[in-house]
Amino acid sequence: MMISRRDFATLSVACVAVSRSAFAQDWRNSPNALVEKFAEKGITDILGAAISQREKADRFRVLFKDFFDIPSIGRFVLARFARTASAEENEKFAMLFEDVIVYTWSRRFGEYKGQILKVKDNTPDGNDGALVNSYIMDNDSQSFAVAWRLRKRAAGYRVVDIIIEGVSMAITYRQEYSTIIQQNGGIGGLLAQMQKQVDEMKAKLA
């Protein structure tokens, strides 16, 4: 059977469409592109969108879960304490930790003044990971360094830590939480304080 010109044209359009969709998620497999995508989505869908603070927080939660490997971060943050905690405590921690980050970030969405993120380069890091170096340009031409620690997972790269001017988010949480655990009655004490913090931040958001 002869393929008419029209059929051929339709076929090639279909091929292009298929290959486009296959490549559309390519940024998930490139460390630099993943960070750029996160910043782009964050700015257009959340920071620059004309929606309520609560909606911004909801959108951020979706974005955060998509780009970050939260279970790995949580495990790093709890470190050895995770082993002595019960399954329920670990589960509760994972839930609260996600909330803590979502509301901590959301609190500051209103202060966005057009800062931009520029990716510089990346270096290999850990097992199958990368450290993406970027900087954020502030309004008064001041810039600060932000490094993104990435790990390759089944569906592409995921962020496991953000390091601002040498200060790692994961390490800071880990050291703060370990102090709270030691001084405020173990994991139970930490969970109670995290719950209180989340409730307060949530109430302020409305």
Partner: protein, 272 residues
């Protein structure tokens, strides 16, 4: 300096010193038992042997900051235009070039010493006494060095974390070397030793402090608002930032994990 003080004042200073020492020794942090591995490793990681004393000093410092320094820095930041503040930061940075240069040389870093000299010459002349950072525009950015960083590169550990009112977070190594930097290497100290009016030095100290306080205000406010235990998160952030300065900005080695894995950010089992 103690020589010129009258006898009674010397006695009071000695008494205060003994009182402070007693307070420091009596408020040492208790080490968790060896059987509690998680607590023991966290204790080691935090390296804060004087935690009860430091926490008390932290409260004093926060109170002083809330009443005096933060409001002054806030007013300065709010009412002085950005370019002027930037100029003052540049001027103060240029003024401490001798400290940076001495540290560069003591660390055997000839390249960075050359950069410091070049920056000083260009910024002091073309940059009008250092108010404009022309050298950075020409491709030689500012870097910060001090004696504490030098001692760290020589292999001296920080001793323990130390928190002092007004000074803020530091360590035994860095607090001690900061005093040496301020009183021995800083050209403003020598200007003062040469019988010049004392107010110059106090004005200089005040400017450095308020400039630094204003520049770190966003970061410190954010840390305070986002932490449950402000003291602990500041201790962690301060130390990491300090480590970065010592490494001259090179990326940190991967943090250690306690479960024997080679990658602390390995995929969590629940995720697989």
């Amino acid at each position: 300096m103690l020589k010129i003080l009258p006898h009674s004042q010397k006695f009071i200073i000695k008494l205060l010193f003994v009182a402070a020492l007693t307070l420091v020794i009596s408020s040492c942090a208790t080490k968790p038992p060896a059987s509690d591995l998680a607590a023991r490793s966290a204790f080691k990681e935090n390296n804060d042997r004087l935690e009860p004393f430091n926490r008390a000093m932290f409260d004093v410092d926060q109170a002083i900051d809330a009443v005096i320094f933060r409001p002054v820095a806030w007013t300065y930041r709010e009412f002085v235009p950005d370019p002027v503040r930037r100029g003052i930061t540049n001027f103060l940075r240029n003024l401490r070039s001798p400290i940076t240069l001495a540290s560069d040389l003591l660390q055997g870093n000839v390249d960075r010493a050359g950069q410091t000299i070049g920056r000083f010459v260009v910024n002091t002349t073309i940059g009008v006494l250092g108010f404009a950072d022309i050298a950075a525009d020409l491709g030689t950015p500012y870097h910060y060095e001090d004696l504490g960083q030098t001692l760290a590169t020589w292999g001296l550990k920080d001793g323990s974390y130390l928190y002092l009112p007004v000074i803020g977070p530091t360590s035994f190594r860095d607090g001690f070397s900061q005093a040496l930097d301020t009183f021995l290497i800083d050209p403003v100290a020598w200007y003062n030793y040469a019988d010049n009016p004392g107010w110059v030095r106090w004005a200089y100290f005040g400017s450095v402090y308020i400039d630094a306080r204003a520049n770190t205000m966003t970061a410190t406010d954010e840390l305070k608002a986002s932490s449950i235990d402000h003291y602990a998160s500041l201790r962690s952030a301060y130390r990491q930032n300090r480590e970065k300065e010592i490494r001259n900005g090179a990326p940190a080695p991967l943090p250690s994990m306690t479960n024997g894995e080679d990658d602390p950010f390995a995929e969590a089992p629940a995720n697989k």
